[in-house]
């Protein structure tokens, strides 16, 4: 397994000690992750701070209500706070990285002292694109704040909208976090799981398990969905157990159907399977590139 794979964690597994990056490209995915993460925190008797941006606090509270969280009670008892970044840590009109790190550390300690089982922070970082002074230090902040979650009983999910941040910026910000939030699988079965990914700003698919006669239709359907995503696609094969010739053909076919100017990049494919791709001549498919397992990506 590669380090890239190990970084991706399901939202239910993210808790004290974690500092995770959520790259999302649709509002439903943001809602799913936020709802599960915050609701779990409230249920676990952690204190939850939510910093909204593009979605107003009322919308976020609505998601939580719909998921069965009694937000009125949680807010009244100080277990949950949902405010906009603009109204809280950006209220001075600038972003002060050092002050923010200190504030979060204080909040974590206060939460524990007040009898909570730690602090849970979740924020939509879209404000960073609005030219707010200090926003240029965001990467520096993300690296520094990691220590808070390592040293205090606390965790965080920082949300970055892949539709707004450039691929390079997104990749850099993602790299400042210890883990990434795994997206909702397009398919999750006993034999095969297909997980959408956003890495280095590129959309992709992580293939976990087996692609054969019994799972072709799920694989083909997921590749069809992926074709609809913008830009180049990356297929991560590091958790692949087996793929047959028809599965490899589906990848070559997807590359062809992406059309001019778009690429399908297959990463971490076992060398023996790269050989099979070459045996048929699919390595010469326009738009298809193979990065064998063990090669630097």
């Amino acid at each position: 397994m590669t380090t890239t794979t190990a970084r991706e964690r399901q939202v239910r597994d993210i808790g004290p000690g974690d500092h995770a990056c959520l790259s999302f490209a649709d509002d439903a995915e943001q809602r799913r992750v936020v709802t599960e993460y915050v609701a779990t925190g409230v249920a676990n008797a952690e204190r939850v701070l939510y910093f909204a941006d593009r979605q107003p606090p009322s919308a976020v509270l609505g998601w939580l209500e719909a998921a069965g969280v009694d937000t009125g009670e949680a807010v009244a008892r100080g277990r949950l706070s949902v405010v906009t970044a603009d109204d809280s840590y950006l209220a001075t009109g600038r972003f002060d990285s050092g002050a923010m790190v200190d504030a979060l550390r204080r909040e974590a300690r206060d939460s524990t002292a007040a009898g909570f089982d730690g602090l849970r922070v979740c924020g939509d970082m879209g404000w960073a694109l609005r030219g707010i002074p200090g926003a240029e230090h965001l990467e520096e902040y993300e690296r520094a704040v990691d220590a808070v979650f390592r040293e205090e009983r606390a965790s965080a999910i920082c949300q970055y909208d892949a539709r707004l941040f450039t691929p390079d910026r997104l990749a850099a910000l993602d790299g400042c976090h210890r883990s990434s939030v795994e997206q909702r699988p397009l398919h999750s079965g006993a034999l095969l799981k297909l997980v959408p990914t956003i890495r280095s700003g590129r959309h992709g698919l992580r293939v976990v398990g087996t692609v054969d006669n019994r799972t072709h239709r799920h694989f083909n359907a997921a590749l069809g969905t992926a074709r609809g995503w913008p830009g180049d696609l990356v297929v991560d094969m590091s958790a692949l157990t087996f793929i047959d010739v028809a599965g490899l053909r589906a990848l070559a076919d997807t590359a062809t159907r992406l059309g001019a100017g778009r690429h399908l990049r297959i990463e971490h494919l076992a060398l023996a399977l790269c050989d099979v791709v070459r045996m048929v001549g699919w390595d010469r498919t326009p738009g298809l590139s193979l990065v064998p397992d063990g090669a630097t990506t």
């Binding site: 034999l191 087996t210 054969d212 006669n213 019994r214 087996f242 047959d244 010739v245 028809a246 053909r249 070559a252 062809t256 023996a272 099979v276 045996m279 048929v280 001549g281 699919w282 010469r284 498919t285």
Partner: protein, 308 residues
């Protein structure tokens, strides 16, 4: 000689001079016409050709037969790739397979390979001369060369081979032992669960002494053959494996009686863009020999796979 379509010629020689009398003008003529020229032959013949061709030898690609003639499926695919990558040029090939030291199975399968060349490259602008050194090649193999090559060439003389048999009429059955069940041989009946097939093949092959890397290629090849059995062969089948010398013999038998399947299926290069039909092409490259044998009860695909 026509420049469209394939020329596939046998050259039976018993002196070095006789070899060079045909091959040197063949190369020179090709270079004059700006054809791509590939010479796959013995290291001794490569030296002879280099000596005779002088500076012209630099424009010819030489490959040692012992390296090139590895397994029929892989060799045919390598020629296919060579031709495909030069689709804008005419191609000339000297192709001298290795015949010394081949056992009966190997000789039969390399002979079939020579036969299928006539189909696989039928539409290629390729001219292939296959030399047979009568001093060392068994008589039976030389006789077969006359059955697998439409033309025989000797110096300036080219004539039709009267013994030539078209590939579709060529004997493609399994020669020698055809008994499919042996005492105590592990058998797996399968339907749609090919994961069970892969586990069975991996486990039995390992217990028969196959190296891990060779287990991987066998599993991949058998999976494709078993996929075909599910799709075209009645939806079920059975698999047996046993060891025969330095090879594993794996039979995949489907349940479709009296199937009409060509013995050379999987030897004809498929278009990468076609929607199906790449499995056997890959299987032939993953294993050493693959034989297809339809019977009254079902078709057996027999894979002969090097253990190490």
């Amino acid at each position: 000689m026509s420049t469209l379509g394939l020329n596939h010629q046998g050259l039976v020689y018993d002196t070095d001079e006789q070899f060079l009398m045909t091959t040197v003008p063949f190369c020179r003529d090709g270079l004059d016409r700006d054809d791509a020229v590939l010479a796959v032959t013995t290291t001794a013949n490569i030296d002879h050709l280099r000596d005779s061709l002088g500076g012209d030898a630099d424009r010819i690609e030489f490959v040692d037969s012992a390296v090139w003639y590895d397994a029929p499926g892989r060799t045919l695919a390598a020629y296919h790739r060579y031709v495909t990558e030069r689709s804008d040029r005419r191609i000339r090939i000297i192709g001298e397979p290795v015949w010394e030291g081949r056992d009966a199975l190997e000789a039969a399968e390399w002979t079939r390979y020579e036969s299928v060349i006539n189909l696989a490259f039928a539409d290629s602008a390729a001219w292939i001369v296959c030399p047979y050194d009568a001093r060392v090649v068994p008589v039976a193999v030389v006789d077969d060369a006359r059955r697998t090559h439409p033309d025989l060439v000797d110096g300036p003389v080219t004539e039709f081979s009267p013994a030539y048999v078209a590939p579709d009429l060529f004997d493609g059955g399994i020669r020698g032992s055809t008994e499919s069940e042996r005492d105590h041989e592990p058998v797996l009946r399968f339907t749609e669960d090919l994961a069970a097939v892969r586990r069975f093949v991996a486990t039995v092959a390992a217990s028969l002494g196959v190296s891990p890397e060779r287990v991987g290629s066998l599993v991949m090849a058998v999976n494709e053959v078993a996929s075909n059995a599910l799709e075209h062969g009645g939806g079920s089948g059975r698999i047996t494996l046993h060891r025969a010398g330095h090879r594993i013999v794996c039979d995949v038998t489907d349940d479709s009686p009296n199937a009409t399947v060509d013995w050379f299926a999987g030897y004809l290069p498929p278009d990468p863009a076609q929607p199906r039909g790449h499995g056997l092409w890959v299987a032939r490259q993953l294993t050493e020999f693959l034989q297809i044998h339809p019977t009254a009860t079902g078709t057996t695909v027999r894979l002969h796979h090097r253990a190490a």
